[in-house]
Structures are given as structure tokens and as C-alpha cells.
Subunit: 328 residues, 3 copies
Amino acid sequence: MAVTLKELADVIGAELAGDAGISISGAGTLEQAKAGEVTFLANPKYLKQLETTAASAVIVAPSVSMDRLPLLKAKDPYYAFALAVRHLHGTRKHSFTGVHPRATVDSTATIGEGTTLYPGVYVGPRVRVGRDCVLHANVVVYEDCVIGDRVIIHANTSIGPDGFGFATNGGIHHKIPQIGNVVIEDDVEIGSNCSIDRAALGSTVIGKGSKLNDLIAIGHNTKMGPHCLIVSQVGIAGSANLGHHVTLAGQVGVAGHIEVGDNVTVGAQAGVTNSVPEQSVLLGSPAMPIRQARRVAAVFVQLPELQDRVKKLEQSVEELSKDDEPAA
Amino acid sequence: MAVTLKELADVIGAELAGDAGISISGAGTLEQAKAGEVTFLANPKYLKQLETTAASAVIVAPSVSMDRLPLLKAKDPYYAFALAVRHLHGTRKHSFTGVHPRATVDSTATIGEGTTLYPGVYVGPRVRVGRDCVLHANVVVYEDCVIGDRVIIHANTSIGPDGFGFATNGGIHHKIPQIGNVVIEDDVEIGSNCSIDRAALGSTVIGKGSKLNDLIAIGHNTKMGPHCLIVSQVGIAGSANLGHHVTLAGQVGVAGHIEVGDNVTVGAQAGVTNSVPEQSVLLGSPAMPIRQARRVAAVFVQLPELQDRVKKLEQSVEELSKDDEPAA
Amino acid sequence: MAVTLKELADVIGAELAGDAGISISGAGTLEQAKAGEVTFLANPKYLKQLETTAASAVIVAPSVSMDRLPLLKAKDPYYAFALAVRHLHGTRKHSFTGVHPRATVDSTATIGEGTTLYPGVYVGPRVRVGRDCVLHANVVVYEDCVIGDRVIIHANTSIGPDGFGFATNGGIHHKIPQIGNVVIEDDVEIGSNCSIDRAALGSTVIGKGSKLNDLIAIGHNTKMGPHCLIVSQVGIAGSANLGHHVTLAGQVGVAGHIEVGDNVTVGAQAGVTNSVPEQSVLLGSPAMPIRQARRVAAVFVQLPELQDRVKKLEQSVEELSKDDEPAA
């Protein structure tokens, strides 16, 4: 779809500086955009690329000025770019509507209007899927789970398999029936190949508007608040409680039965083993406040040198001690 | 299903203290159980919740006494609770029996009596699946694999994909045909989205009664003994040998070609790079005995302070050395 | 299939020392091979097993001599063994040809000759799959992705789900349509339960001849060069650039927007957070040159002892300082 720069400016709420009539038919990065495409500058680090980009227009912060290209000035250039991409390219077009004949929906499940189920999807007994959802190919939703409106779940993800609950007696692990469910609230997106375990009793909850990437494991009875960002390969053990706007980077592990406060951010590969107050920014395994983690890491990578310094000190002190001995 | 407290006590082998006639229709945690439900107390830490729980009866250790609620005294309260949950709620009821018409079973495979295959399951040539198994939706079992009796495999798990075997020659990785298989012994449960690779030659084995959670990767030719507990996102490289009753917490990595002894326990995110004697309890990356790992971690998080102390020592020693110099 | 040792020697390009007429019908490891089977010795560490193996012939390096068994001398015994296994056992035989009736291929997708699609495979709009590929059961390929020739993708893997792209505005995460695709070049093999995200714009690329094991997450717009080896549970964030012949061991994490040079090797569980020059061998989190990482680890596991040494030094220095004080 091609639009004038004027139309695009209006749609994304930007102030236009330059030729309003030029035609824009696509979007790209500073480096990859071609003539006829719009790009964006959100990070001042890439400012120099404004001189070389082949794009025909750039979305920038209000403070940026230049003559080379028409500018679309927006308070939040990245968000404005997102709107531009959506306007130019739209969202995914499905080649069929509703429940694909090769999706399997239990007769007791309900599927909301406007919801698309791809081939190989399985929806179990008594599941409720809301409106305008997309369940991509081979997504599995176990019995009794509840999925809100406008939820997107990517291929091969499993919602509601049994939590890991066993009572060990006499060396044998006896299964505790997992009779709870999973509740995915509105506007959640879950990536591919994830596993969200059903609660032993009660519900495992993914809060409204949270976004999960791929290969994520969520244990039984865990509650994630709204608007969290969970990157690929994160694992959250059972009965953890996450607040809202929690961000967990790739491969983070969160222990069970702990509280992670609102707006907490955790860096990649960290291990969160204790409850964390809101607003914390953590890194490391065990996870520490990021300033501390960075100082620890700086010493850590120089541990052999630190050991050498201790050794040298020991020699010096020994010599000093000898000198210090009273002459016989 | 509702039962009298007397019946429940008999079923779970508990001694009843209180009104035998009250009706129990469900089970819940101390916090979440409602009137008419039974709960349990296994960890003395939660003793105070006995005063506030809404449950109508509590399973406790024989030493616990109280008047507020009827008690079911059992030697192992958690195990007794597991039995109670099973009696009250039963195990999963499938909405169909046997092989679902949308499961695909090769004509040369055999499926035992009482086994349930969900939609999207694929069972390859010459596979044998035992009795009373459940393969949830979209489980894939490659050719020649063997699955015992009463095995549960959750959605989207892959049993028997090729092991990672390549001979690199002239910069090209040449595939070594993986002609072995996977053997899953009786009473194993495997979570969702796991990958158990087939052996190059011989078998990859998951021992009787072992329980695996989600997103676990098991390399080719690895042997896991009976009754292991493997938490989500664990990775075990090829040709590792695990004993019986090994417990690996979340995100643990185990190197290939090593021995992990019986009853070994490894804490979350640890990296086991060498063989480990039986009964060891390990933590950390590289994995260490847990006492050592905790002491190491305690110093680790204070590395900047340790470095400061060394710096101060260096200054003191330098001063002392000056003082110590013979007066000219 | 049974062949004479002479035939086998010719096929694998080895020099025969011993009875050319004996019949070989299979292949096995030194420990597991039976009479009538060929084995190999690539690592001198296992030299003693030549005395005890039940195999009928052994592929060895040219320098090895022995009388007990017929030898097949080859410059690269492991590669020669791979050729032998392939000759004796062949590659996987499928029990059907072409697109299985239970695979779902969009009408606008193209599937090359000789390509096998297993049940439950979903191939979306405008996808191109090359010749002689195998997509195992329940593999999902999203719209517009391109798969080369002779590519193998194992069960439950997802190619082309949306990259993790959101513009956060007013606390809400707004989805940025992911309008790029994934390009899998020729001769790639991808294990089971992997997720390769489509690019936001442009392509995520897996280079020719690269081999990936299981449960691997590749972020949007990442480019992997040819002939890489990526072990299970590796995660590579978005917009990373890997050279050729990069090897990443199990559970490694690679940050986004960095460059990993040609022939780089990274040890298990490492975290690569910065760009890395070619030929580097790294270990640890954060990843360091392997020599440094090993020295750091050696001190790390003895941190409590190092702390004790510092404490002792502090005491000694304090005493020395007292002695050093001028007598009043």
C-alpha cells in the first residue's frame, strides 16, 4: 500500500517537515530502507546514518533537523514507526478465516468471534478462547484453560500441560493430579514452543498485555502481572508472583515461590533466587542490583590478578615480619 | 465427587481426629481451600495458617494437634494429600478413547491397550507404545522407539529426533546416520516441548519412573536411571550416564560422557562438567558441593569489597616497607 | 546390508590391512559393536579397547598397527566411519513419499521435488521449500519463508514466527508487524522444538551447511554464516551476526546486535555479550578467552580461601603496624 507522506504523518501523529506529496510504500531500517520507504531514528548513536540512508523520509525526535530528507517529527519515533509499519503493511493476513478444518476443537470448548485457529491446533474440553485471537499451527490448549481477547499464540506452544507435582514416597514419585488451569488475559502474545503449565489447584495466570517470546517455561501456579516482557528461554518456576511491567531478558531463571516487584528488570542469564522489590534492575547469577553486578563482574574477570596481588602481599608481609623480629 | 471425612481417612491411610461425617468435595492449599475442601500442612513454616484456612479438614503430621478443624494425621502429609486429590478429583478424563482419528500411527507400529493418543500425535514405523499411556496432542515419536507402560508424554514433545552427530571433513559437516532409538521405560512422565534425541547406535534411555518437566533436551546415547526428577529447561549432553533418583533443578546443564551418581541433587542453573559421586549435592557453574558453592557465592557478591581490602593492604605494606628501610 | 571388508574399504577410501573377504553388516562403538560389525578409533585415549572390542574390523588412523583385528586405515577415521555407517545403514527410509496427506501446504507455497513432508507439517502462504528436504512431523513454516535444498528440519520446530518487536508507549507494548522472513540455506539441519523468528524487516538467515540441535531460539534479523554448529538450548538474540564455522556449545547465550567472527568457538553456558574477533575460543559468563576463563574459574572455586588469606594478611599488617609504632 502506497500513501503520501502527508497521510502517513497524519496517521502516526507526526509533524511533517518536507515534501508532503511524496509517495511512501514501505518501511525499513536506516541501513536497509530503499527509495520510496520510510525509516526512523530513535537512538542518537545512529545519527550519522541520516546522511547515507536511501530512505525517502525519516521519523525523528522533534529536536532533530536536517535538509537532506523529509522528516516526520514525533515525540516517540520508535512508536511512531510501529504505527507507520502497521499502516503500510497491515497485520498478518490469514489465507482462511475462523477455525481451519484441520484444527481440532473439543465440542465443549467455545471460540470467540473473529478468532483464527491454524491447522494442527488442539483445543481441549471446556476451554474458552476469546475474540480476535490467533492460535498458530500446532498450538495445544489443554482442558479448562481460559484465553482472553486479542491473544496471539505462536506455533507449537503448549498451554496447560500438567504442572510438575509429585509426592515422593518410598522412592517412588506419585503424581498429584493437576486440577487447576491456565488463564491468559487479554492482549497477551506468546511466542513459539513455549510451555505454560496448568496450576495444581487454582490458576497459572499471564497478565493482560504481557508479551512472551519463544521457548519459555512457566511453572504451575505462577502469576505474571500485566504488561510484562519476557524474552526467549526464560524459565519461571512454580508459584512465583511477578508484578506488572516486569522485564526478563533471555535465559533468565526465576525461582519458585518468590515475589518480583513491579517494573523490575533482569538482565540476560541471571538467576533470581529471592524476592525482589519493585523498580529493581538486576543482573548476574545470583542476581544482584546491576551496579553491584557490574562491579563484581569487573573484579571477577581479573581474579587471577587479584590472587597474584594477594600472593605478593603475603611475601612482602613475611619479609617484613622477619625484619621485624627482635635481633637475637 | 463428595466423600465423608471417614472415607477419605481410610483411602489415604490417615488417623482421623474430628467429625467423621462431614462431607469433603475438593482439595486446596491452606490459602485457597474453601469450605467443604481438605488441605494439608507439610511444612511447619505454614503452621499459623491453620488458624485462618477456610478448609474443612487438614492433613497433618501425627505430632500436630488443634481443635479448630478436623485433622487427618498421616506420616507423610504431602503424599497423603496427593492420594486425597486423586480420590476426590481422579486423573484426567479424556473426551475420547484410544487413538484419536487425527493421530497418525504408522501401520508397523503397535499401541498397547488402554493407551490414548491425542490429535496430531505422530507415531513412526516399528514404534512400540505400551499399555495405559497418554500421548498428548502433537507428540512425535520417531521410528523404532520404544515406550513402556503407563507413560505420559505432554504436548509437542519430540521423542527420537536424530542425535547431533556430524563428522567434519574439509570444513563440511557430514551427517552420521543416527540408527539407534529412544527407550522410555514404564511409569515415566515427560513434559511438553521436550526433545529426547535417538542414539547414534544403541539406545537413549529414560529410566523407569523418572519424571521430566518441560523444554528439556536430552542428547543421544544418554542413559538416565530410574526415578530421576528433571526440572524444566535442563539440558543433558550426549552419552551422559545418570544414576537413579538424580534430581536436576531448572536450567541445569550436564556435559556429555560423564557419570552422575545415584541420588545426586543439582541446584538451578548449575553446570555439571565432570563426573559426580553418588549422594552429592551440587550448585554453581562450574558445579561444586553445595556448601562450597554457598561460601563461594558469599564472597563472589562482595568481590569489589575484597578488592578494596587488597588495595588497602598494598598501601599499608608499602608504608610499612618505607618505615622499615634502614635510615641512610 | 552386508558387504565385504574390501567393498567397505573402497567405499570409505581406506587402506585395508587384514582379511578382505570377511562380511560386515553393521557398525558400532568400540564397546558396543558385535561380531560382524565395524567400529572406529579416533581418540588415542580408547586405544586399549582395541584389545577387547567384539567388532570384526576397526577403522583407525594410518599410524595404528595391530594383529588382532583387520584394520581399515583412513586419514580421518571418524569421517571414514560416518561414510561406513551411511553405506551400511543408509539414511532414513520414509514410509511414504512426498507430501503426507496430513501435512497442510498453502496453495501458494511451492515444494521441491524429492521433498518429504511428514504429518502435521504446516507450510504457509508463498513459502518456498527446495528439493530433497525432509520436514519432520509438526514442523511449522510461516508465510514467505524460504528453505533451500537438502534441508532437514526435525519435529515440532517453528520457522518464521514473529520476532519480538514491540514499541512501548504509555506502558502498553504495541506490536510492530514483523514483515520480514526466514531464509534457511542449502544443506542446513535443524533439530526439534527450535524457534527461528522471522525478521522485522528483511531476513533472518541460517547459512548453508549449518547444523542446529534442539530447543534453540534465534531472534529476528540474526544472520548465521555457513557451516556453524549450534548445540541444544542455545539462544541468539536479535540482529546478531555470526561468521562461518562458529561453534556454540549447549545453553550458550549470544546478545543481540553483536558480531561473532569466523571460526569462533564458545563453551557451554557461556554468555557472549560483546563482539568477538574471529578464531576466538571463549568460555564463561561473561564470555572470556578460554585460558583466562579457566584461570578465573580456578580462583573462583577457591574464593573463600582467598578471602581467608586476605583476612590473615590484615591481621599480620595490623600487628606489624603496632610494632612499627614509635615507642612512646
